[in-house]
């Protein structure tokens, strides 16, 4: 990805006013993150997240 594209993507999520040094770091760190993401394994449809929403926790917290 070019710096210009990363800058546009950053601006689209509210990250504006990046200095040249910040843009360089963001580019490098984004590339690193992308490389990490493609290493994520394939999961089965039924694989649940580690932490699911728990009504008990909410109700307990309200009581507390």
């Amino acid at each position: 990805m070019s710096h210009e594209k990363i800058k546009r993507m950053a601006e689209s999520v509210g990250l504006v006013g990046l200095s040249p040094d910040e843009l360089e770091r963001l580019s490098m760190l984004t590339l690193e993150a992308q490389a990490n993401l493609v290493r994520l394994p394939k999961l089965r449809k039924e694989d649940e997240p580690a932490h699911v929403f728990s009504v008990e926790n909410i109700s307990t917290r309200r009581r507390g």
């Binding site: 993507m9 950053a10 999520v13 509210g14 990250l15 504006v16 910040e22 770091r25 963001l26 760190l29 984004t30 690193e32 993150a33 992308q34 990490n36 993401l37 290493r39 994520l40 394994p41 999961l43 694989d47 649940e48 997240p49 580690a50 932490h51 728990s54 926790n57 909410i58 307990t60 917290r61 009581r63 507390g64």
Partner: protein, 475 residues
């Protein structure tokens, strides 16, 4: 037992205080003098609350004389990583964004220590917001803390001050937070016992979040007994923290002297032999520690995990970056010029992680935890490596990053198992070496039992760092 008050353990001091042979006032004064004498170079503290500590010591003394002794932590001095909220006391998290922040409530764990009469000495140094990769953080508002074993070597982090303070005798014990090893890594670098209990055992309420689902509070102490005493006061359900679990708190000191004869202890070697080529000194130290455990009568069994260290790290990195950005997004977008590079780089790494990628990592995490637990649950406890490198110089930026990011600590942030790092000797440069003892969920008692047996059988607790005094040589 040491004759220097600042090197007493909690257990030793508690017994003396209970027998009225040691005054909390004298103990606190000894620590405050120690801080004045050595901390201008060590930088373990960001804020010292001397007046508060002296007043609390006088009150503790009055209560004890009046027969109202509150237990083994009454009159015991401790420090808190500066990301724990302390009502009326500045809490900076070593960040320019929080230099003037004075909380109006206490972190639950701080309140629990106060309720049993422990005495806060001050707020301890940290990497910004309790996060970072280990790269030099010289752009923060406070000087970096120094490793008391060798001031030119890396002290670990992010609970840098807690590690330095307990090793150097500027605090008897300390609390830190551990998202990927931030209690256990400074404990390793400073030669301490670093305990990260099971996720849900200790309350996170009032601690600045780093990564909601990976954050674990923990203790840094000189001995295993001290870790057990602290955990006893800290553990338990907290309605302020929905991750805490409402289940009985056992007596953590009850099994400390029971030995480990007949315990089935698993050995995971892949982290330091297959996934990462650990320093040969580290490998030799772990082997020697295993021989000690075998000699104490434990049944050692080789166990393997179907997951590499790199996979645990990948999973926690994606989750950690995304969760940290969700914590700090407003500051990152609006005031990032005030952030240090360590924090802003971590947040930048999370900017383009999509929701679907985050969820994929969280779903994968469950699989990792289940597979890991399937191995650990076959044993009473498991031994594996902690830090895999020798302690680098503070000028060695890649070395520091490798020491932190290459450690095997993050595995148990991903899975939530209790994990304790323990000193298992020293390298040729005199720097501490470490191993981890892992337990089954909520079975900190057995982790402490194994660690206590090892500690009692080895000489490492008899060696203390030579700390430089102000305007003096070493002492």
């Amino acid at each position: 037992m040491t004759t220097e008050l600042h090197f007493l353990t909690i257990g030793e001091a508690a017994r003396l205080i209970a027998a009225r042979r040691l005054s909390p006032v004298d103990l606190i004064e000894a620590y405050l003098e120690r801080i004045v004498a050595v901390d201008s170079e060590l930088h373990s503290y960001i804020t010292v609350v001397a007046d508060h500590a002296r007043a609390a010591a006088r009150m503790a003394e009055r209560e004890i004389i009046a027969g109202r002794h509150r237990g083994p932590l009454h009159g015991i001095p401790y420090g808190l990583k500066d990301n724990f909220n302390t009502r009326g006391i500045r809490t900076t998290a070593a960040s320019r964004l929080m230099l003037d922040f004075v909380p109006d409530e206490d972190a639950t764990l701080h309140a629990r220590l106060q309720s049993v009469g422990a005495i806060l000495l001050g707020k301890l140094n940290t990497w910004e917001a309790g996060t970072g990769t280990g790269e030099i953080q010289s752009d923060l508002p406070f000087p970096l803390a120094c490793n008391p074993w060798d001031y030119s070597r890396f002290p670990g982090g992010s609970s840098t001050g807690p590690g330095v303070a307990v090793a150097a005798g500027t605090a008897m014990a300390a609390l830190g937070s551990d998202t990927g090893g931030s209690v256990r890594i400074p404990a390793a670098a400073c030669g301490l016992v670093g305990l990260k209990p099971t996720y849900g055992r200790l309350s996170r309420a009032g601690i600045l979040p780093n990564s909601f689902s990976l954050d674990h509070p923990g203790t840094l102490t000189w001995t295993v007994e001290d870790a057990a005493i602290l955990l006893q006061a800290l553990a338990g359900y907290d309605p302020r923290d929905p991750s805490t679990v409402d289940r009985p708190v056992p007596d953590y000191s009850s099994d400390l002297g029971h030995g480990i004869k007949g315990l089935r202890i698993g050995v995971i070697r892949r982290f330091h032999t297959k996934d990462v080529a650990a320093a040969s000194t580290v490998v030799e130290a772990i082997d020697a520690a295993l021989n000690v455990l075998r000699g104490l009568g434990a049944e050692l069994v080789e166990v393997d995990l179907p997951i590499s260290l790199q996979d645990y790290r990948l999973c926690t990195r994606i989750i950690g970056s995304a969760e940290a950005l969700s914590v700090h997004e407003d500051d990152f977008l609006e005031r990032r010029a005030l952030m240090g590079k360590g924090l802003s780089d971590k947040l930048m790494g999370g900017v383009f992680i999509r929701a679907v990628d985050y969820l994929k990592a969280v779903r994968w995490r469950r699989e990792l935890a289940l597979k890991t637990d399937a191995v650990i649950s076959l044993c009473d406890a498991v031994i594996c490596a902690g830090t895999l490198r020798l302690t680098p110089s503070i000028d060695d930026v890649p070395g520091m990053k490798d020491y932190v990011m290459g450690s095997a600590m993050c595995v148990f942030n991903a899975t939530g198992h209790p994990a304790l790092s323990q000193c298992i000797g020293f390298d040729n440069a005199g720097m501490p070496l470490t191993m981890q003892i892992i337990g089954n969920y909520f079975d900190e008692t057995k982790v402490l039992r194994v660690a206590a047996a090892y500690e009692a059988a080895t000489p490492w607790r008899r060696r203390r760092p030579q700390v430089r005094h102000r305007e003096e040589g070493a002492s």
